[in-house]
């Protein structure tokens, strides 16, 4: 069932929802952008439906709602420790199709990999329902969701199309039907982006011999001087899930502290560094190769169904060195095609 709801009424519905739900959406933080006089758009709880920034791409992904950048795991007191807790309220997230598909990748890591469930992720994830937000036609400049097959989803409770003074709402989840009982019924189902200006070709890596040659490609070395290993790309990625655990002592009382989970980045120099100093992947180029292959090769090799990257393009937008991830994927595709051609030619000669 779909309805046409005016903004005023939608705000009343929001208030009603917020009795049970924390409602998150991309929100504008004025003048908090990375360049002067620019805004930052990231996920936060909303107070009114006008807070939702629906006509721009958010700089950060909604993963922070359930997988915060830092999160307490345990609180330690002198002789005891306790698990951190979360709010009882359920969670509604205004999300794009790519991000909803991205959450499935996070689910795979946190709830399936290794046959164990991470309760810190699960306790928030199981509270979540999605409100699908349509994207503008073709998506935004850096979007390549269509190439990654993550432009569509049916995993949502509500879907919305924003208009100037009214909102079209599709309800798939009976829980919410009553709230819209007095609204005008309309024909509406969300439309998905079917073509992006940015397209990627995913290289098919079908043998270990080819993988070894990919490791040796000169293209990775070009990132040694370009990439500054800041990890901005992984911070904004909907599917990046790596973390460190970090114990801290409160400065006011050294006997009390906590164990935290802090998002980590495979692009950071110390990602693999062990106590004593031994580390792997010492150059930015090697780390770029690691991230690229994880996103478009080895995640799928392990979990079979889909690539990790959903093509949201945030890493592209966020890189202070203007390194484009879709361009990197396409460059790798070209290099792999060259390698395959050389291989075939060599075979012919033999």
């Amino acid at each position: 069932m779909s309805y046409c709801v005016n903004i005023k009424r939608m705000n009343e519905i929001l208030k009603e929802l917020q009795k049970e739900y924390k409602v998150y959406a991309p929100v504008r933080f004025e003048k908090r952008g990375r360049y002067s006089d620019t805004d930052l758009i990231r996920y936060a709880e909303i107070n009114s439906i006008e807070d939702v920034v629906y006509d721009e791409k958010s700089d950060f992904s909604p993963k922070e709602v359930i997988y915060p950048i830092t999160q307490a795991l345990f609180y330690f007191t002198e002789y005891e420790y306790m698990e951190s807790k979360v709010d009882d309220k359920k969670i509604l997230i205004f999300a794009r199709p790519c991000d909803i598909n991205g959450f499935r990748r996070l689910d795979t890591i946190f709830l399936k990999n290794g046959g164990t469930e991470d309760i810190y992720y699960k306790r928030l994830r199981e509270k979540v329902k999605f409100i699908l937000m349509e994207c503008k036609e073709g998506g935004w400049d850096s979007c390549f969701c269509v190439s990654m097959g993550s432009n569509k989803t049916d995993d949502y409770s509500l879907a919305v199309r924003f208009g100037d003074d009214k909102i079209l709402v599709e309800i798939k989840d009976d829980e919410f039907t009553n709230l819209f009982a007095d609204e005008r019924e309309v024909e509406f189902t969300p439309e998905f982006v079917t073509s992006n200006p940015t397209k990627v070709n995913i290289p098919e890596i079908d043998s270990h011999e080819l993988l070894e040659k990919i490791y040796d490609l000169d293209m990775w070395k070009s990132y040694n001087s370009r990439c500054i290993s800041c990890g901005a790309c992984t911070a904004v990625c909907i599917t990046c899930s790596c973390f460190n655990t970090l114990d801290v002592i409160y400065t006011e009382n050294g006997k009390v502290g906590e164990r935290r989970r802090v998002q980590a980045s495979c692009m950071h120099e110390d990602f693999t560094t062990m106590a004593g100093g031994l580390s792997f992947r010492k150059t930015a180029g090697e780390r770029m190769r690691f991230r690229t292959l994880h996103k478009i090769y080895d995640y799928k090799l392990r979990f079979k169904d889909e690539h990790m990257c959903v093509g949201c393009g945030r890493c592209d937008e966020r890189c202070p060195e203007l390194i484009s991830f879709p361009a990197t994927i396409n460059r790798l595709y070209d290099e792999v095609e060259k390698l395959k051609k050389t291989e075939t030619t060599n075979k012919d000669i033999r």
Binding site: L73, F74, F76, Y81, E83, I109, F110, N113, G114, T116, E117, D118, I119, Y120, K122, R123, H208, L211, E212, Y215, S241, C242, F243, N244, T245, L246, D247, V248, I249, V256, G257, E258, R259, A264, C266, F271, T272, T273, M274, A275, G276, L278, S279, F280, R281, E286, L293, H294, D298, Y299, L301, R302
Partner: protein, 263 residues
């Protein structure tokens, strides 16, 4: 709510054995069933957490041999018997001990790499009838970095041992890296055998190559990897190499797999 896999549990330290100036063995009370080659996530609240391999185990204890090398281990070295240390685990796979039984076994270990193979060696020391023969090459940097002196002496009586120091000459020890002594193993005389190699990455790399040079088949070689880990259960991502998680599929790998684990 499912079980919290990140939950550290306090365990009592029963004894602390000073192996070297910077390496102590902590005997810790636990009923955990541990397999040879597994590790625990060891932590001290408010300090930190890290993976430590088991160097020996008994009915109600495990031993962890720890090098004082960073923030967490510095603090662990201040603990006394009776104090509590926090652990969760054991994690990871193990050496395929059942496959080793009744055959010849070659164990090549360097430095702290002796720790993860010590429980395996002690098992066959106590059950000599379960192994056809055991050759053990152990290499240390110098005299003051020799670990498990008592065990090494005991092993001489039941295993064919070659102990070596990188440069120094002392009684009972050869001179040179472990790789230089691999050719002394009579691989040709073995009917069926396995080779275990554990040590720093460079040592494992060259020791494996030396074994291959001496005619050892790739699938007879087993290595144990060491990696940064923040969880030990396949979530934190630090130990991933390609599609492989060292904490889940390792730390023990057959060489046929290990040779493809490229960083």
């Amino acid at each position: 709510m499912s079980e919290n896999i990140m939950l550290p549990v306090p365990h009592k330290i029963i004894d602390i054995i000073h192996e070297t100036e910077n390496e102590y063995t902590f005997r810790i009370e636990t009923n955990a069933k541990v397999k040879h080659g597994q590790f625990f996530q060891v932590s001290l609240p408010k300090i930190g957490e890290g993976p430590i391999s088991v160097s020996s185990m008994g009915d109600n204890w495990v031993e962890l041999t720890i090098r004082k090398v960073g923030k967490l281990t510095n603090e662990i070295f201040n603990l006394k018997p009776g104090d509590k240390i926090f652990m969760r685990g054991p994690y990871g796979n193990s050496f395929p001990v059942d496959d080793f039984k009744g055959k010849d076994l070659v164990v090549i270990a360097g430095g702290t790499g002796v720790s993860p193979v010590r429980s395996l060696l002690k098992y066959f020391y106590e059950h000599p009838d379960e192994i056809h023969s055991l050759y053990f090459i152990a290499g240390f940097k110098d005299e003051k970095s020799i670990l498990f002196k008592e065990d090494l002496n005991n092993f001489r009586s039941r295993f064919n041992t070659i102990y070596t120091l990188d440069k120094d000459k002392i009684e009972g020890f050869e001179v040179g890296l472990v790789t230089e002594h691999i050719k002394k193993i009579p691989f040709d005389s073995f009917e069926n055998y396995n080779v275990v190699i554990v040590g720093p990455p460079v040592m494992m790399h060259f020791a494996a190559l030396e074994c291959l040079k001496n005619g050892v088949a790739e699938d007879k070689i087993w290595l144990s990897f060491e990696r940064k880990m923040s969880c030990g259960v396949g979530k934190c991502g630090h130990c991933k190499i390609n599609e492989t998680y060292v904490c889940l599929e390792g730390p023990v790998f057959n060489y046929t797999k290990a040779k493809n684990l490229l960083d």
